[in-house]
């Protein structure tokens, strides 16, 4: 990792996170921000490979930064670092294009490990998030406009999601399906990506509908 964006408003936590990031990626160049506004400016100014983004910030939500990053730098990995563990807060961030989330209060060792996993392409997925994803895709309407891509999950992806929802860990699912750990991780990444793409399509459709109304 060469360049990393760190968005966190609490100075102590930011310092702590920075030290943690340096420990995982010793040679990285870290850009620190405390406000959404600053982060957006940085996103438009330079390229990042990884972004650690807090959700609740004084001047807005980190979700906006995730969206901006997804829009301008699709290769950048957005990771939510938050105190909120409930899917009500996490799901919108994942829809916006985040590739995973880390709960701040976890021990240094745990976070370090999760960070490494995410950067290696193994994003986490909790049962409640998995249920939310399943419900989201189940409620997706058939595409009304041909130009917009209709995103649906493959059978395997659905299978993985269902098992996660039941409480099975990703390694367990790998064993159950006879798949390697990397393949399972790829499925999860794919699920995150599709969630993002579908959400964007939905948003575009919504915008188009609003546009039609205004005309």
């Amino acid at each position: 990792m060469k360049s990393i964006l760190l968005l966190e408003d609490l100075p102590e936590i930011r310092t702590w996170l920075k030290s943690l990031v340096i420990q995982v990626f010793p040679n990285a160049q870290i850009v620190e921000c405390a406000r959404v506004h600053d982060a957006l400016a940085q996103v438009s100014a330079q390229k990042f490979e990884l972004a650690l983004i807090d959700l609740g910030l004084p001047d807005g939500s980190g979700v906006d930064v995730v969206s901006a990053l997804r829009e301008s730098q699709p290769e950048a990995l957005s990771v939510i670092v938050t105190i909120h563990d409930d899917d009500e807060h996490l799901f919108p961030a994942l829809q916006a294009g985040a590739y995973g989330y880390i709960l701040k209060e976890q021990s240094r060792e745990l976070i370090t490990e999760q960070l490494q996993r995410i950067s290696q392409g193994e994003p986490p997925l909790s049962p409640s998030i998995a249920r939310k994803v399943i419900a989201y895709f189940a409620a997706q309407p058939k595409p009304q406009v041909d130009t917009l891509p209709h995103v649906s999950l493959t059978e395997r992806e659905s299978e993985v999601l269902l098992r996660v929802a039941k409480g099975f860990t990703l390694p367990e699912i790998g064993v159950q399906l006879g798949l390697s750990r990397h393949t399972i991780a790829d499925y999860v990444k794919q699920i995150y990506r599709k969630l993002n793409v579908s959400s964007r399509a939905e948003a575009a459709l919504e915008a188009q509908r609003l546009g039609l109304f205004r005309r």
Binding site: L10, I13, I83, E105, S126, P127, S128, A165, K166, G167
Partner: protein, 601 residues
């Protein structure tokens, strides 16, 4: 000169007649023999009378027979005095103004036997009447009908029949019309929405007054006034009839509303201007106009009803036809001399028609009343329904509002907790050098988060809760190097819901139990079993570790969190049992009653 045998009534078809206003039959040279019936309008146009008539007869067997003899005069218009052999034997009414109006009243005059001679009896009649141009109807123009002489018994039957038709029936019918008309008028008066009823009632009453001309003989004013009143009565009857038809057919017109009363005022005016000498001509003209108006109203009404209520059309057009026939006969009778019986029948037709239509209207009114009551009951029922619905909706809305406000408040508290307390605890977690303090802070943070979830959370499906618990337990155990196993009922056996509080507390107990195993037990294997049985939800956590030493159990309870686990279980009305022995591992049994915290989905 006639001779009579009483078996066969003697009919006088001619008489000597002379115009003179004297006390007795005057022997004047201008007397001449005329044919009976004598119509002044034909025999002596323009003359105003009185006229003396004389007939003679022989009655040789009459006295021997001992039977009462009588003279029957079908029509002596307007009033007559009868003298037998110079003696006054009968007066039908007043002979001077106001002259009695007896045009329709047949006269049966008993002839006193003492006055009858065997031969050469003289019957003198003094007839007082009015020429046709002074009366509104030809029926009341002066004239004398054929006279019959015979036994009283034989002629009395004729007299009774005639009286019935021209006097009694009009009286009875007139009375009924006033009764029914008054009733219908009152109905229409009370219920203004059905004003046609009032007009119909007025029409019936008006017609009853018209009928009174048949039998009402003695009025306290001159004949000319009576005729005038009768004539203008027609305009009021027309007013009522036309208004009734228009309103019955829902064809209200403002110009009709104004025009008809105006006409009622105009008619007497024109009659007065024309004067009593031209009353008949003027009245006939008016009758024609009024008849045309009624005819037009009938046409309008029938046209309207044809498109709306077909059965009503047939009924009304039948009645209308009858009415037209009656009117035509009446009109012809004004101009020509027609058989009296036909005129009688024609006169009876309209009242009968009015009565039947009146009854039908009363029936319709009753039905409408019934319908209205039914509608009202229906309306009340609907209002009741709507009220209940509104109340229910309102209650629902109020509930929703309360829920919304509560939800918003909870979210606000949750956000505050996260932002303030959460941030501070987090800072402690990651900045404290003391491992124990940072662990405590981390636990406090987790506690806070669970509390918030308990505060804001909705009930969760037990199946989802099991998924969450499994993921947490298994991943934590595997990270700690403990071999974890999870046993839970099949998906379709877990349809229940779990309250947010029960979910949170159970999560804490489970978390505490797993922490204990990782930290203290030294176990290599842990099995978690979930059982739903006998209305209870059971969670059994079993390890193969060292167990909890007795002295530790007593002293260091807080570190193991056994007390808090038991306390939490008690809060949920369940229990948490710990079975442990050194070297045998530990079994923690958490039992929660399902009916308290697990509601069917």
């Amino acid at each position: 000169m006639h001779a009579t045998s009483l078996a066969q009534p003697l009919q006088f078809n001619q008489a000597r007649a002379v115009t003179a206003d004297t006390e007795f039959y005057p022997d004047l040279p201008n007397a001449r023999t005329i044919a009976l019936p004598d119509d002044w309008a034909v025999s002596r146009p323009g003359e105003t009378g009185p006229v003396w008539y004389r007939v003679t007869f022989d009655a040789e067997n009459a006295r021997a027979n001992g039977e009462l003899m009588a003279l029957y005069i079908e029509r002596a218009c307007s009033s007559v005095a009868v003298l037998l052999n110079g003696k006054l034997i009968h007066v039908s009414g007043r002979l001077t103004e106001p002259v009695s109006r007896n045009c329709q009243r047949p006269q049966l005059i008993s002839l006193p036997g003492a006055l009858i001679e065997p031969r050469g009896n003289q019957l003198d009649l003094k007839l007082v009447g009015f020429p046709v141009h002074q009366v509104a109807s030809r029926q009341r123009a002066a004239g004398l009908s054929v006279m019959e002489l015979g036994s009283h018994a034989a002629l009395s039957a004729k007299h009774t029949l005639r009286t019935t038709f021209s006097i009694r029936l009009p009286q009875v019918i007139g009375g009924s019309l006033i009764l029914v008309g008054g009733l219908i008028f009152a109905m229409g008066w009370v219920n203004r929405a059905q004003s046609f009823l009032a007009y119909y009632g007025a029409l019936l009453i008006g017609w009853a007054l018209v009928l009174s001309r048949q039998w009402l003989s003695d009025l306290p004013w001159p004949n000319a006034s009576s005729e005038f009143l009768l004539a203008i009565l027609a305009s009021f009857v027309t007013f009522a009839a036309v208004q009734f038809l228009m309103r019955y057919g829902s064809e209200r017109r403002r110009w009709i509303d104004i025009g008809l009363p105006l006409q009622c005022a105009l008619m007497p005016l024109t009659l007065m201007i024309a004067g009593p000498q031209r009353l008949h001509t003027m009245a006939s003209l008016w009758y024609l106009v009024l008849a045309l108006e009624v005819g037009a109203a009938v046409a309008v009404y029938l046209h309207k009803v044809w498109h709306i209520r077909r059965p009503q059309f047939w009924l009304m057009s039948a009645l209308g036809t009858l009415m037209t026939v009656a009117a035509a006969v009446e009109f012809l009778a004004q101009q020509l001399t027609i058989d009296q019986r036909l005129v009688d029948v024609a006169q009876l037709l309209p009242p009968l028609m009015f009565m039947s239509l009146g009854l039908r209207m009363v029936q319709q009114y009753g039905r409408a009343l019934q319908d209205a009551q039914h509608d009202r009951a229906e309306l009340e029922r609907r209002v009741q329904e709507a009220t209940t619905q509104i109340e229910r909706s309102f209650a629902h809305l109020a509930d929703m509002k309360v829920e919304q406000v509560t939800e918003r408040e909870r979210k606000r508290i949750a956000a505050d907790l996260h932002d303030d307390l959460g941030a501070k605890l987090l800072t402690i977690v990651h900045t404290s050098d003391n491992e124990r303090i940072s662990t405590l802070a981390r636990e406090a943070l987790e506690e806070m988060r669970l509390s918030v979830r308990g505060l804001t959370g909705k009930p969760v499906p037990l199946l989802n809760a099991l998924g969450d618990w499994r993921a947490e337990v298994i991943s934590r155990l595997s990270q700690a190097g403990v071999d974890g196993a999870w046993q839970a009922p099949a998906e379709d056996e877990v349809p229940q819901m779990l309250s947010a509080r029960a979910y949170v507390q159970t999560t804490r107990i489970l978390r505490e139990a797993v922490s204990n195993i990782i930290k203290h037990s030294g176990a290599s294997r842990c099995t978690v079993r979930c059982i739903i049985a006998n209305g209870d939800f059971q969670l059994i956590v079993q390890d193969n570790g060292n167990g909890i030493p007795l002295e530790l159990d007593g002293r260091l309870d807080r570190g193991h969190g056994m007390a808090s686990m038991k306390h939490r279980a008690k809060q949920l009305r369940g229990q948490c049992l710990v079975e442990s022995g050194p070297g045998y591992g530990t079994v923690i049994r958490l039992t929660l009653p399902l009916d308290q915290h697990v509601a069917p989905a």
